[in-house]
Amino acid sequence: MSATSHEYAAAPILPAILPEPKRRGRIMGFIYRHPTIAFGGLLIGIMIFIAIFAPYLGTKDPTALAPARRLRPPSAVYWFGTDMLGRDVYSRVLYGSRVSLVVGFAVAFCASAIGTAIGLVAGFVRKLDAVIMRVMDGLMSIPPILLAIALMALTRASVQNVIVAITLAEFPRVSRLVRGLVLSLREQPYVEAAIASGTRVPKIIVRHILPNTFAALMVQATFICASAMITEAILSFIGAGTPPIIPSWGNIMAEGRALWQVKPYIVFFPAIFLSITVLAVNLMGDGLRDALDPRLAKRL
């Protein structure tokens, strides 16, 4: 402080009274502040890596039958053993990650998009609000898994149909969330100011409403992604989901079901992968909620 040679008294230089701030790299700092996002993100990253590079991770053709080598326990050759048709469970589980991730992300995206569109309409068009929300209430009164099951019973099994069925079961919740947000955002002074200054509705929606729904929407989308992965596995498990020819975690478990008391590994390996993936997505959602909206974090 003796360095101040000016005539007026200078305020003490901050570092002199504050402890030296810890210097961290950007990445380390992020991990320190948001451990759950970092951990969840890392796990999801690993799963995405596995899904993309499944053919190069020491896998064989996941659908290749080899009846002579059926029901081998896990070993150095067959890491996760083989199933009742001699297929390599390790390869099937790795390829199975593709179905779960595609369904999870696709449903999260579609349900958010549809839900947001409907929520915006309900929040802005007063005449339609009551009608739309009654329809949503009705849809939400059917337990989501049952709705997805019923929809799958109507169509033939395919990954696209699974995505459509789970999306239809999930989007009403998004629309209710967005509508609620729109209704409260409309009362905000900056929106009133925008209306008063003659901004047109589409621009208000894009500039003022949508950006402010984004945080809550992201959190909701993450949880939808996790629940869609579980629903896909349940649908496949009970035989109403992904067609049996495609190795998905639910399908592998469904096939291992008959033999699980003697060969539990066929069920357990896909089960572990599914649980870890869903856990990762949920951790990410929890972390995002805490980071983006502290008020929400306190409530839940």
């Binding site: 059917i142 049952l146 019923a150 498990f237 539990p264």
Partner: protein, 313 residues
């Protein structure tokens, strides 16, 4: 109070109608023409047309919906395509295991999850709190059949404490009945427990910071009195709401749990119906569960006034 109850009860009518409309549309757009199936391969188009008219299938959508709904509220859910039995009859046969499973799961989850949430909030930030929250996150993330298989493997196959599969009706003795349901209830209740423990902890944290809790402390109310009398009662509304909403997860999970543990309940009925494309049965079960869900949430809303006399709509 009474006017609130009446209005709340009346407000379920549009929801019930909406659900019925969705479920009816399901059968309406289901592939396969019942008239053609009944007529058989040899029938001429005119025969099929006549049968269609005699079944009333040529009438407009809304007329058929009205007719169908009229039958539903009189307890007629149609006839199974596969067994030719009335759907209500098939449901009645299968309802006991499912109902037992759900009731036991409810008792188990509530009696574990609420104390867990309360203790986590009380010991906020401690290792108990972290443990409860960790358990809750795992409970969320582990699909019901994974927990089911894990429990069955450990406690039935390895330790041989409980039966692996099956169901024993309560008439054949309470103990065997309970033994077959313990593992399924734990598996099914995991998500539910996680949900309830989390919301209980969060609301309790909120309530414990309130002035009246400090007052209670100041006048010397014991820790248990504060937690379970002063705080928990005021935390009841959000907790009860989640109990109602979470019931959907319980219904969905029951379908899977029954498959894992070979329990001959409504869930198994649904799964069998899907594999056989027995639409009237699917429709009946979905309708029944949805009405149950609406009813439970109605009860929850009515309970609000009991827990929080300030609520007057």
């Amino acid at each position: 109070m009474l006017s609130y109850v009446i209005r709340r009860v009346l407000s379920t009518i549009p929801v019930v109608l909406m659900v019925a409309l969705f479920v009816f549309s399901l059968l309406y757009i289901a592939p396969g023409d019942p008239a053609a199936i009944i007529a058989g391969d040899q029938a001429s188009p005119a025969d099929v047309e006549r049968i269609r008219a005699s079944l009333g299938l040529d009438r407009p959508f809304l007329v058929r919906f009205g007719d169908w709904f009229w039958h539903v509220i009189h307890g007629d859910l149609g006839t199974s395509i596969f067994t030719n039995l009335p759907v209500t009859h098939m449901i009645a046969q299968r309802i006991e295991p499912t109902l037992s499973l759900m009731v036991l799961t409810l008792i188990l989850s509530l009696s574990l999850a609420i104390p867990m949430g309360v203790i986590a909030a009380w010991k906020h930030g401690s290792w108990i709190d972290r443990l409860v929250m960790m358990t809750a996150v795992f409970g969320f993330s582990t699909p019901v059949f994974v927990i089911g298989y894990l429990l069955a493997y450990l406690f039935a196959l390895r330790l041989d404490w409980l039966p692996v599969q099956g169901f024993s009706p309560i008439e054949q003795g309470f103990w065997p009945f309970l033994r077959t349901l313990i593992l399924p209830s734990i598996a099914l209740g995991m998500i539910y427990m996680a949900l309830i423990a989390r919301i209980t902890r969060a609301t309790m944290l909120d309530v414990l910071g309130q002035d009246y809790v400090r007052t209670a402390k100041a006048k010397g109310v014991g820790q248990r009195g504060i937690l379970f009398v002063h705080a928990l009662k005021n935390a009841a509304v959000p907790v009860v709401t989640v109990i109602g909403i979470g019931f959907a997860a319980l219904i969905g999970g029951a379908v899977v749990t029954e498959s894992v543990f070979a329990i001959p309940g409504l869930g198994r009925l649904t799964v069998d119906a899907i594999l056989r494309r027995d639409y009237p049965v699917i429709q009946g079960v979905v309708l029944l569960f949805s009405f149950l869900y609406v009813l439970i949430n109605l009860v929850v809303d009515l309970l609000y006034t009991l827990f929080d006399p300030r609520i007057r709509y």
